[in-house]
């Protein structure tokens, strides 16, 4: 009984001592806090893993204009227009819009893309003063980008690794927002096709 009494005192003092040593050691060690957004060593998109599903981005150089992504999208987020040159019989990409505000980041478009032209970036903080700024235009109006042809010999270039993704952000801070009727084009297109197909 008395032995237990003194043992309790000893246990209490040694455990307090050990506890104080532990907290003291943690006090002079590096904290694990990441001070998002303003006090981080490099931009957060570069710190995220490449499998992160962020805002969709398009490499127009390898787009085949197959429009599979536009058809697959459940929310009518993507709108693509193409033009065929009547003389050379070549296909040109004239418009590629993605409405980030509608996108639910399901990733179905990236799965159907044959060349990996449409893919998720690691950016996610799309904050703008106007929701229309969130329509990403990967082909500027008036531009004509020749459609990529998959050759049987070479492999498609695939997704470039370790590329800085911060260029997307430039568009959100763009001074002139798009016109609302330009944006809604994608929605109108989907409705028309549904009627034609009799769905």
């Amino acid at each position: 009984m008395l032995k237990q009494y003194f043992k309790n005192i000893k246990n209490a003092s040694t455990s307090i001592f050990e506890g104080l040593a532990v907290t003291l050691s943690y006090m002079v060690r590096k904290p694990i806090t990441i001070q998002y957004p303003d006090r981080i060593e490099k931009p957060l998109p570069e710190m995220l893993p490449p499998t992160f599903r962020g805002i969709l981005e398009v490499d127009t150089g390898i787009c085949t204009v197959c429009m599979a992504c536009m058809k697959r999208c459940p929310l009518d987020t993507i709108y693509i227009e193409s033009e065929r040159d009547p003389e050379t019989r070549k296909n040109y990409l004239t418009r590629f819009d993605i409405d980030v505000a509608r996108c639910m980041v399901c990733g179905l478009c990236t799965e159907v893309c044959p060349t990996g032209a449409i893919r998720h970036s690691t950016e996610f903080d799309a904050v703008t003063s106007d929701v229309i700024n969130l329509v990403m235009r990967y082909v500027q109006p008036g531009d004509k980008i020749p459609a990529y042809k998959v050759s049987k010999e070479e492999e498609p270039p695939g997704v470039p690794q370790n590329e800085p993704y911060c260029r997307l952000k430039k568009q959100w801070d763009a001074p002139a927002p798009l016109q609302p009727d330009e944006v809604r084009g994608a929605v109108r297109w989907k409705k028309q096709t549904s009627k034609q197909e009799g769905r």
Partner: protein
């Protein structure tokens, strides 16, 4: 600080009632000074504690408002000023409003007798330590009042717990105070410090093995009286939401917290004064004589040096109090009472008796060497504990193949 007033007004030839008026003004000035010190300390410590707590939990803590977040406490205070003052319908309105103002003086009045340096005390009363133990018990009435008048089960349980805890822990605390009072033969805070010396082996904590134990008894009981973790049962947030201050909002809420932070200073200052040599400067055996012999500029130098010594020791203890809060888990109510009545009270009696025995031992001849060697051994043990703590922390870091990093510390 009446002596300062007397020396200031000695050459003014004031009429008796003018002297009284000047004395009243002087008291107001001193009170305002102490209040400002208490307010800034309470606020500043709240920030310091949050930063230290953050680092101890691998976080950073508030570092955005002002330089290194140092103005966070001002922002928090302003926020509490702007909050709505809610008084629930079912409360006892008079007691509910009165409670914070009864808690506040309990913490504030203790500052009156604390010696901040040689002769730097708001009032040098003869029963200083007795006055402090008495006045800090006033907090109990306020807390119980807050708990009762809130008309809330959590508040009531918190208030009653606080009353039980403070009253129980006053006994070991008082016994531990008595051990040093017996050695010094006085209740006066100034003379309690004078009875010690500058070097660590002159301090009461290392005077003999019993005062060494009494230091820890007093530490534990005064933490319990100040409702600090691991004895923060009255406001145990995991059981009682916030205990007796559950129903309080805005400034009334802040008054309770304010007193609690100020109490940290009172705790550390009392420990420093009673056990760690107070404002004594190492190497100076008789500070009073040194100051009397010094020039007018030298007087200020010695007084400020003594204030600095007191602040260094007290700040170290404030850090320890904070560290204990973030190290130890909260005790259960029965554990709290077991610790008080089964451990601290018997040990308190033993330390009181043992210390008294050391007092009656002769001090001449070979006995002087005995006393000196006991003091030396106790000092070595004390420093070995501190060194062991640091060494153990060092081992903890290196055992995990980590390294010391003060990144983001400020």
């Amino acid at each position: 600080m009446k002596y300062l007033f007397d020396s200031l007004t000695a050459n003014w030839n004031l009429s008796p009632w003018m002297t009284t008026l000047a004395l009243v003004l002087w008291v107001v000035v001193i009170t305002a000074g102490v209040l400002v010190f208490m307010a800034t300390f309470a606020g500043f410590t709240s920030w310091v504690e949050r930063r230290i707590a953050g680092r101890m939990q691998s976080r950073i803590g508030p570092n955005r408002v002002g330089p290194f977040g140092g103005l966070q406490w001002l922002a928090d205070g302003l926020k509490c000023f702007l909050k709505e003052d809610v008084i629930p319908k079912a409360t006892d309105p008079v007691l509910f409003r009165l409670a914070p103002y009864l808690v506040f003086p309990g913490g504030f009045a203790a500052f009156a007798a604390l010696p901040f340096g040689y002769g730097i005390a708001a009032s040098n009363i003869d029963i200083g330590i007795f006055y402090i133990t008495a006045i800090t018990s006033l907090v109990v009435i306020g807390i119980l009042m807050a708990g009762w008048s809130s008309n809330n089960k959590w508040s009531l349980i918190g208030g009653v717990r606080s009353a039980a805890q403070i009253i129980s822990y006053e006994i070991p605390g008082g016994l531990a105070i008595l051990t040093v009072v017996v050695l010094a033969g006085t209740l006066n805070m100034h003379e309690l410090v004078v009875a010690q010396g500058g070097w660590p082996w002159h301090w009461f904590i290392f005077r003999n093995p019993f005062t060494f134990v009494a230091f820890f008894i007093f530490f534990a009981s005064i933490l319990a009286e100040g409702n600090r973790t691991p004895f923060d049962l009255p406001e145990a947030e995991s059981e009682l939401v916030a205990g007796y201050l559950t129903e309080y909002t805005g400034m009334r809420f802040l008054f309770f917290l304010f007193t609690e932070w100020a109490n940290v200073w009172v705790i550390s200052a009392l420990l420093t004064t009673l056990f760690l040599g107070g404002w004594q400067i190492p190497g100076i055996t008789d500070l009073g004589a040194t100051i009397a012999a010094a020039t007018s500029l030298g007087k200020w130098f010695w007084v400020l040096l003594s204030v600095a010594m007191f602040f260094i020791k007290t700040s170290a203890l404030v850090f320890l109090v904070i560290q204990i809060r973030w190290t130890l888990p909260r005790l259960r109510v029965d554990q709290l009472m077991i610790m008080c009545w089964k451990y601290l009270v018997p040990m308190g009696f033993v330390t009181l008796l043992g210390s008294a025995i050391f007092l009656v031992l002769p001090r001449e001849g070979a006995w002087a060497w005995f006393h000196l060697s006991v003091q030396g051994i106790m000092t070595l043990i004390g420093f070995a504990i501190v060194a062991g703590l640091i060494g153990r922390a060092w081992y903890n870091i290196h055992a995990l193949k980590d390294r010391i990093s003060l990144e983001n510390w400020l």
